[in-house]
């Protein structure tokens, strides 16, 4: 049952929340050991008590709560007070934040329940959830394959019915990639729409928290809850206070405006055949109503390079704070210089991929190389922004496959690290430019989901939701669950 219907039921009879939790935990028991979506699951007794309190404390305002009684799976790089937040890293294995991320506060204020913390690539660095220091998460549609990443656990929790809503974070595709591989909806909002306060930073200028769901209306509900200005985040845009994206979606949905859609030629050409076919079929559905035109986005290899340069540079800085002094992994500092102690804790605490990105990032920012890499990447970022400004003069949205490939087999990517980076080609542009992008599940190929990506200009989330809803109606891709 979709969240928007569940909430209505819960409001009429709050005791139904407990029944729902029963069935949810039964399902988790059944599937979790096969796919391993979670790093931390809150015990059912704890949640039951929490819900009892929630009902007591909100007796007279239950009707106003947008997420009353809805369990939400939260990616493990989003800080939750009293619940350990590991970033899927040994470094933070036992770190329990003393504060809540703004999005978590907002969810709890609307009656939402944090059911657990989902697995991910370590510090969100990866696109398969295999760099998790604990265990890889498996794709519920085929457990020999990866679920995508880095928000892999959030996507699998949804696809296998372990949670009805989830939060992910997206720096270069980390929401859309697993959404696409797992057959769910995932939205990366406009940069600055959702507060980053409490999100453990990977690349601050591109990180965004976003909603993931099994249908478009649910996606809009969660977006409505988490979006809006936060004075604790200086990059959060001040002019968006609160928007009801469900209303915005329905306004467009009923008006049914004809949109000008740009189809990114290079992103289709660069995709595997089955992906290309499925995506083209979905685009045809859109083009039967909207006005479509092929557009070109050249220099896609340079886009990837620029993305990784900026991301690694920022990561090397953001991850400097993990030194074992104040929190996180502890080692014995006795009779060691600070440098020795820091080196040991960072060598032991970080996995290979994270160490690699920190090292490359530090190199990129060092004197003499900064101009060659970092400054040039920033220039390309500006050029890309200008290109998108140009595109959005003539187009309301642009579409492409979310991922150029079907979900690879576990371990397959490790053999070819460059290929894994190149697979991000379709998704990173939205982060570099700061525009919203959505992944819409559109088809299966041999039982594996395929997603279509749509991007629009800043703050055009309603347009993306509208297009997604149209496709959802036509493909019937709604509340579909995998049976791992």
């Amino acid at each position: 049952m979709p969240v928007h219907k569940l909430v209505e039921e819960f409001k009429i009879d709050p005791s139904k929340v407990f029944d729902y939790l029963d069935s949810l935990y039964d399902n988790i028991k059944r599937v979790e050991n096969k796919i391993q979506s979670f790093i931390t699951i809150i015990p059912q007794e704890t949640l039951d008590r929490y819900v009892e309190n929630l009902i007591k404390e909100n007796k007279h305002r239950i009707d106003n709560l947008k997420l009353f009684g809805i369990p939400i799976a939260v990616k493990d790089n989003i800080s939750t007070k009293g619940i350990r937040t590991t970033c899927a890293s040994k470094m933070l294995e036992n770190y329990v934040p003393p504060y809540n991320a703004t999005v978590v506060e907002k969810i709890m204020r609307e009656g939402g329940i944090i059911i657990g913390k989902t697995n991910m690539d370590e510090f969100a660095m990866g696109s398969t959830t295999e760099t998790s220091a604990f265990y890889p998460t498996k794709n519920p549609w085929d457990t020999t394959r990866v679920p995508g990443g880095s928000s892999g656990g959030s996507a699998t929790a949804l696809a296998s019915g372990e949670a009805p809503l989830a939060l992910g974070s997206d720096t270069g595709g980390s929401i859309r990639n697993p959404a696409s591989f797992c057959g769910v909806y995932g939205l990366k909002p406009t940069y600055g729409l959702v507060s980053r306060y409490g999100l453990i930073a990977y690349a601050s200028s591109m990180d965004q928290i976003g909603p993931m769901a099994r249908n478009v209306v649910d996606l809009a509900i969660l977006l409505s809850v988490i979006a809006g200005h936060d004075p604790r985040d200086s990059t959060s845009v001040p002019f968006v206070q609160s928007v009801d994206y469900v209303q915005e979606l329905y306004k467009l949905y009923h008006k049914e405006p004809k949109l000008r859609i740009g189809i990114i030629k290079e992103f289709f050409e660069g995709s595997e055949e089955p992906v290309k076919k499925a995506a083209t079929k979905a685009v045809d559905l859109l083009c039967s109503y909207h006005e479509c035109q092929e557009i070109s986005l050249p220099f896609s290899k340079q886009i990837i390079a620029a993305y990784y340069i900026i991301a690694m540079a920022e990561a090397s800085s953001n991850l400097a704070r993990f030194d074992g002094v104040r929190y996180g992994m502890k080692i014995d500092f006795t009779n060691r210089s600070w440098d020795e102690a820091f080196t040991e804790v960072r060598t032991k605490g970080f996995g290979y991929e994270v160490r690699k990105r920190i090292a490359i990032g530090a190199y990129i920012l060092s004197a003499g190389y900064r101009d060659m890499y970092y400054i040039r990447a920033l220039k390309l970022r500006r050029v890309l922004k200008e290109r998108f400004d140009q595109i959005f003069k003539d187009h309301d949205i642009v579409v492409s496959p979310t991922m150029p490939i079907l979900p690879p087999r576990l371990g397959e990517f490790f053999k070819d690290p460059l290929r894994i980076y190149l697979a991000d080609v379709n998704t990173v542009a939205a982060n570099l430019v700061g525009i919203p992008a959505i992944s819409i599940p559109v088809d299966f190929y041999n039982g594996l989901p395929v997603g279509l990506q749509a991007m629009a200009k800043q703050f055009s989330e309603p347009l993306l939701l509208y297009v997604a809803k149209q496709l959802e109606d036509r493909t019937g891709f709604r509340d579909i669950l995998a049976q791992p």
């Binding site: 409490g198 704070r321 920012l365």
Partner: protein
Amino acid sequence: MSSNQTLKTIIGLEIHVQLTKLKTKLFCATSADYREKKPNTHVCPVCLGLPGTLPTVNRKAVEYAIAVAKALNCEISDRLMFVRKHYFYPDLPKNYQISQYIGPGFAPIAKNGYVKIIVDGKPKIVRIRRINIEEDPGRIVYLGSIETSPYSLIDYNRSGVALLEIVTEPDIESPKEARIFLEKLIAILEYLGVTDPGLEGAFRVDANISFEGFGRVEIKNIGSIRDVEKALTYEIVRQRRIIAGGGKIERETRHWDSNKGVTISLRSKEFEEDYRYFPDPDLPPLRISKELIEQITKSLPELPDERIDRFMKQYSLDEYRATVLVLNKWLADLFETCAKHYDKYKKLADLLITDFLRWINEFNIDYKNLRLDPLQIVKLLRLWDEGTLSVKMVKELLPQIIRDGIDVEDYVKSSGYTRLADKEYLKSVVEEVFRESPKAVQDALENPKAINYLIGLVMKKTGGRADPQLVREIILSMLDKMKNTGS
């Protein structure tokens, strides 16, 4: 190498000033009033650098920085930009410091200013290269000294407190000039009301010193103006000695040990440290509007230079007296309070900047704890003018006013502590002196200048209480009589 006495000394200063008048830290709402507080009680997730936290700029800190920039005649940037400066150290919770940087694509809040100072009566300009806003790190606490401490404790109460880093051009040519410049700078900051430089750790200086053509040495973290002067003087002697011996001056960083009065080498500076500066993506550039700058400029208080000018005009003081008063703001304030009731301004100024200031230092009194009724100073001066008190008495009473808070008039009345102006009595004392010192009398008869010696003898006999003018008159008339009878 005798010529090394003439080698030109080049000194540049980097001054770190905490904006202690701010209620909260630079990037979070935690109280900045951390002194004397239990360690790690003035902290929050942001200033502890916990994962996921983000900085937000304290607007008041920016306003203070603009006021300082204006007072130091700087150009102010139209955008507020922060960078991350990376280095690993346990007192730095994020292992980078949010700071500012000058260079392409970067801008400090202000640059290209100057401060006017007076050295040996001559005006001089010390240029300000730039002013940064940045956050203070925490503090490492050792048991005893860093070498012998069995552990390091870290107190993050200071972490995130707002600092200004003020960097001069290498325009300073002597330790004395450095002191004069710093006195002026501190006065300006005090007049602006942005800092209380007297607070422990609120004011720290890094001094760069070199001889023309030789390597540059940086002395880090000097805690007071007096220590800056001492450290620089020590360095000059040390470097001269090396140069005289034909040695080379290593580029290095040294530490000033104020207890031993020496500088100690910390590390060589063969390689420029790479701080991997880049714009802080958590703090997008903010526009600094012309209106804001104008508004701050308009509300600037009277600054030292303006007050010195006014003192010279309004009280007809010379530049030296005006400067000494004004650079001690509290003393200048005391002067103006007294000047409302007493119009011999030069006399007032002299009393304050010589004896008064000396006793304050002697008693080691912090001017903030000084409980002095300014009217006592006025009364003292008036009793002096009337002739009721001699200079000597004035000088004796002053410390009692400062330390014990006596009321001058009451004290003088009750203790009979007045000048001896009883002509008959004084005459008898003079006669006594004449009897005892015939040689001195003979000298005085031959040389009028020798009278002073006789006066001195009379003063001694009366414990300094005799009115010297009256004594002089009596002696003169007695000498006259002797001349007349002798001729």
